[in-house]
């Protein structure tokens, strides 16, 4: 579900250019996935699927597979188009140290949105 981030937000990508000073480890979790996303200088350099033993990360986003699937649709439905829409609905949890995420909130949103299929006109 998330491992394509090395391609969609990897070195040289538009997303990476948004946060050149950011190094963080982001855990993205669904019902079946725990993907540890390593971000260096804004670029996703590694996506490590679980299960993990003693994984260390800064921020973790935990949502149901159903919520992530809706969120990652090419054009998400109302209520599923933003992580704070999911938060309002109670279908996502933000865990760990939220500071790096909140310091780079638009970047995190663009990072996740980069997984959506492109809409062709």
């Amino acid at each position: 579900m998330f491992t394509n981030l090395t391609r969609t937000a990897g070195p040289g990508s538009k997303v990476a250019a948004m946060a050149p000073l950011l190094d963080m480890k982001l855990m993205l979790s669904s019902d079946t996935d725990d993907v540890l996303v390593t971000i260096r200088e804004g670029a996703v350099t590694q996506c490590t699927p679980g299960p993990h033993v003693m994984a260390s990360y800064d921020t973790r986003l935990v949502a149901t597979t159903e919520a992530w699937t809706e969120y990652l649709a090419a054009v998400p439905r109302p209520g599923y188009h933003d992580i704070f829409a999911l938060l309002r609905a109670g279908s996502i949890r933000f865990e760990g140290n939220l500071l790096p995420m909140m310091q780079n909130l638009l970047y995190i949103k663009r990072l996740l949105a980069s997984l959506r299929p492109e809409v062709t006109a």
Binding site: P78, F84, A85, R88, L105, L106
Partner: protein, 282 residues
């Protein structure tokens, strides 16, 4: 190539609000029924640029948009810049009534979005005789604190960037990118703590749930329009308010929290019939 100059005029007026002189910036265009537009929390009057620029609207309406104190080009009152800022219902109503009075407006229409959509409910209760009609965009009686607003104003998070990121998510994914970027930019330019201070009114002080039944829609017409992608004021929230008031809301598909700014072309197609209805009602 001819130079495109918009018909909007912007000026400053010195207006007493609750006994304190403020230098208030406002923009206007058109002639006719005064239409006072109220911007959202943490933003400014540029959100209504398309309404000000629409010749069909300005042929019938004198559209006027003021920046609230601390927003846009309206600075805080002298000596208050470092004060903690938490917008209250009383202060917000006072700002609007002071502007209406200072400009000598007789029975204007007031149209507000988000916090502006909430304050029109307070106006309907407190000053129904002062307005020809009220329009609430993204209007609900109450929005709970569903996230920690402390993140909006702290020294280790860039306030402009984080406020812009919040605004970005509230818009519909289908709205035009250029207009969404413009809308986000207004948030990125907001003063420190202003968005957070405005949300004090939106989420705490301006809670209108126990007041809705004090609105008499026979004294002032109330129109509600809400975008379906708004997760702050959700369509269901507006519907619940409308049900209590006994009126029918307009739910706008493919629209988010900032209809007049994120997708103005489509928004105007919803607004114009409302304005025509208000004009025809006399």
């Amino acid at each position: 190539m001819s130079l495109h100059i918009e018909p909007i005029l912007g000026r400053y007026a010195h207006i007493d609000i609750e006994g304190v002189n403020h230098r208030i910036y406002w923009e206007e265009a058109g002639e006719g029924i005064p239409l006072v537009c109220l911007h959202t929390a943490g933003s400014d009057g540029r959100q209504f640029r398309a309404v000000l620029n629409d010749p069909e609207v300005t042929a019938q309406y004198r559209v006027m948009v003021f920046d609230m104190p601390r927003h846009g080009k309206s600075s805080p009152a002298p000596g208050t810049v470092d004060e903690d800022y938490n917008l209250t219902s009383d202060a917000y109503v006072a700002q609007i009534m002071a502007f209406v009075s200072a400009m000598g407006l007789e029975k204007p229409v007031a149209m507000g979005c988000s916090i502006g959509g909430r304050i029109v409910l307070h106006l309907a209760k407190r000053h129904p005789e002062a307005f020809r009609a009220l329009i609430g965009l993204q209007s609900a009686a109450y929005v709970p604190r569903y996230y920690d607003t402390a993140w909006l104003d702290r020294p280790d998070v860039h306030g402009g960037r984080v406020c812009g990121a919040f605004a970005d998510g509230l818009m519909a994914p289908t709205s035009p990118k250029d207009q969404k970027d413009e809308t986000r930019w207004h948030y990125q330019q907001g003063g420190p703590g202003v968005f957070k201070g405005d949300l004090w009114f939106y989420q705490i002080d301006g809670d209108f749930r126990s007041e809705v039944d004090k609105i008499d829609t026979s004294k002032v017409a109330l129109h509600l329009l809400t975008g379906e992608y708004d997760y702050s004021c959700r369509p269901a929230d507006t519907q619940a308010l409308a049900d209590q008031l006994g009126i029918a809301p307009v739910i706008m598909p493919n629209m988010g929290h900032f209809p007049m700014s994120e997708n103005p072309e489509v928004f105007l197609t919803y607004l114009k019939p409302v304005l025509e209805k208000i004009r025809a009602a006399g």
